[in-house]
Amino acid sequence: MLRSPAAGSVPRVASERVTIPAAAARLDPDSRRWVEELAGVGRAHDDAVARLHALLLRAARFEVSRRRAGLSHLRGGDHDDLAQESAADALVSVLEKLDDFRGESRFTTWAYKFALYEAAVNLRRRAWQDRELPIEPDSWQQLASRLASPAEHAMETELLEAVQRAIGEALSEHQREVLVATTLNGVPIDVLAERLNTSRGALYKTLHDARRKLRGRLADAGFDLAGTGGGQ
């Protein structure tokens, strides 16, 4: 079972806040109320913390519900335990980072992202718990054969063969491992980061550098990569 606060209870958090962030002066009325009450003390603060916990719990349950299909191995009660745990962690994060809120979004949108993040990380971790990660460092060598009908897709086959060569020639062993695990074998980047004892950001930097090397190698070989990566 996951650890979680008793159902319906608000986790105990330190209530030492006395400074109101400077940005509070330009917040929308609802966000300003949240910030002032959470930064204050006494009954209004306690009530605001309870409302914030309820809001974060709704967000965490929303995320668990969205991803429930991939969690068939969890029992029904575990879903809510996971949401409770995520909401409790998010509550601590929101209160710790309250000074960082600049009012560039609504307070509720800002707070939601912490609960969704905690829930998503917990869900991915649970989905891969006790599973061997399919890193398969050599699986990239069959990349071009992933095309079912290579003769009908000569251009794609040629490009994939070039990508396959570039993976072997241009990347370090660590870059290959990260690229293959996250892009070919579907391992979530934060799950891989945890197993490799590093951070999601650091691992994405590795992936980013690997992709840049591949693009450079392919461009040097004369391939037109326009429209291949999305996000443009």
């Binding site: 995320e63 949108t109 897709h153 992936l207 291949t228």
Partner: protein
Amino acid sequence: MMGSDPGEHRELLAALLGPAGPELTCEECFEQLDRYVDRELVHGGADADGALPGMRAHLAGCPACREDHESLRELVRTRDSR
């Protein structure tokens, strides 16, 4: 295993090669995600992309941040419609 669908080829290449242009880091993406979503929902995606260049490219290249973005946008959209 990939089939012969051209869309799957594009997805495979996109996953391997990632976005072409400059992109935010995961930390910058998380930092700006609430601002991006509120702008998307109030002013539209073009306005959000104009205010936060590099966000869309990162979301295209990072599946975990993309999931975070989709969840936040859906949650805020659902709550706003009530």
